[in-house]
C-alpha cells in the first residue's frame, strides 16, 4: 500500500474551475490512474465546484476553496479521493432526497442534475461541516486487470 496527496487553493470562478480540472487531470495522469475513474472524478469535481459557485452564497464566492487530492495504491488497484472545502452556506448533499429520473422529456426538469451526476459517478460521497466550512469528499476506485 502506498499513498500520495496534494492540495490546491482556488477562487470561485469559472476560470479557476478549469484550473482545478487541469490540476486533477495532470495529477492522475502523472500517477497512471486509469482514465475511466479519472473522468468520473473530473465530472464530480466540476459539479461540486459549480454548486459552491452557484448556491454557496457570498462567502463562498469571496473565500478561497481548498482542494485535497488523496491517492491510495495497492497491488490490486487504487483509489482517488477529492475533498472540496468551502466557506459557503452549509449544505449536505447526502441529505437531499433522491429523485426518480424522468421517463419522458416532458417530465424532465432542467435543474438538479449536478447532484444526480455526483451520486451516479462517484464510488463514495462523504460530507461534514466543520469550523464554518463544508467538506465534501468524493472518490473513485479501480481494480487492476
Amino acid at each position: 500500500m502506498s499513498s500520495w496527496s496534494d492540495e490546491l487553493i482556488i477562487g470561485a470562478t469559472g476560470m479557476e474551475l478549469r484550473r482545478a480540472s487541469e490540476w486533477l487531470d495532470a495529477a492522475c495522469r502523472g500517477r497512471a490512474a486509469p482514465r475511466e475513474p479519472v473522468e468520473r472524478l473530473l465530472l464530480c469535481l466540476n459539479e461540486a465546484l459549480t454548486n459552491v459557485m452557484v448556491h454557496g452564497g457570498e462567502t463562498a464566492l469571496s473565500a478561497p476553496i481548498r482542494l485535497l487530492l488523496e491517492f491510495r495504491f495497492d497491488p490490486g488497484g487504487g483509489e482517488v479521493g477529492v475533498t472540496v472545502s468551502d466557506a459557503g452556506l452549509a449544505f449536505n448533499p447526502l441529505s437531499a432526497p433522491r429523485k426518480a429520473l424522468p421517463k419522458t422529456l416532458d417530465e424532465a426538469l432542467p435543474g438538479g442534475l449536478g447532484l444526480v451526476m455526483m451520486r451516479g459517478l462517484s464510488d463514495w460521497l462523504d460530507y461534514r461541516h466543520e469550523a464554518g466550512r463544508n467538506h465534501l469528499t468524493f472518490g473513485a476506485r479501480w481494480k487492476l486487470p
Binding site: 478549469r18 465530472l43 459539479e47 429520473l101 424522468p102 422529456l105 424532465a108 449536478g114 444526480v116 451526476m117
Partner: protein
C-alpha cells in the same frame, strides 16, 4: 468553445458544438443554441462528437432546447461518441433516454426528419 450550424433544405438543421460545456462554455453558447434550435425546422441534430466535456449546466441547456423543439412538433436528436466522457454524463443523468442519441451524423439526420 464554438457552435456552428448547417441547414440541409427546409427540414433539417445540424448544429455542431465543440469545446467544454461547463459553466464558462455553456455561458458562451447557450443563447446561440436556443436561437439555432428555434428555427422552424422539422428536425434538429445537435452534433456533440467534438465536445470534450459535458457538465450538468450544459445538459440543462440541451434539455431546454429539446423541450422547445418538441413543443413545436419537431424533433431534436444528439450525436455523441460511444464510451466518451460526454456519453458518461448523459447516462449518469438518464438524459440519453429522453433525447435520442446516435453515434453518427447520418443516422441522426435520418431519425430527426423521419
Amino acid at each position: 468553445m464554438s457552435i456552428s450550424h448547417n441547414d440541409a433544405g427546409q427540414d433539417l438543421r445540424t448544429i455542431v458544438i465543440s469545446g467544454r460545456l461547463d459553466v464558462m462554455g455553456t455561458d458562451t453558447v447557450a443563447t446561440r443554441l436556443m436561437e439555432l434550435t428555434a428555427a422552424p425546422k422539422k428536425g434538429v441534430v445537435v452534433d456533440l462528437s467534438p465536445l470534450k466535456f459535458l457538465a450538468s449546466v450544459g445538459i440543462r441547456a440541451l434539455i431546454t432546447s429539446a423541450k422547445a423543439v418538441q413543443q413545436r412538433g419537431a424533433k431534436m436528436v444528439l450525436v455523441v461518441r460511444g464510451n466518451s466522457t460526454v456519453m458518461m454524463s448523459l447516462e449518469a443523468t438518464g438524459v440519453n433516454e429522453l433525447i435520442p442519441v446516435f453515434d453518427n451524423v447520418a443516422d441522426a439526420e435520418r431519425a430527426a426528419v423521419g
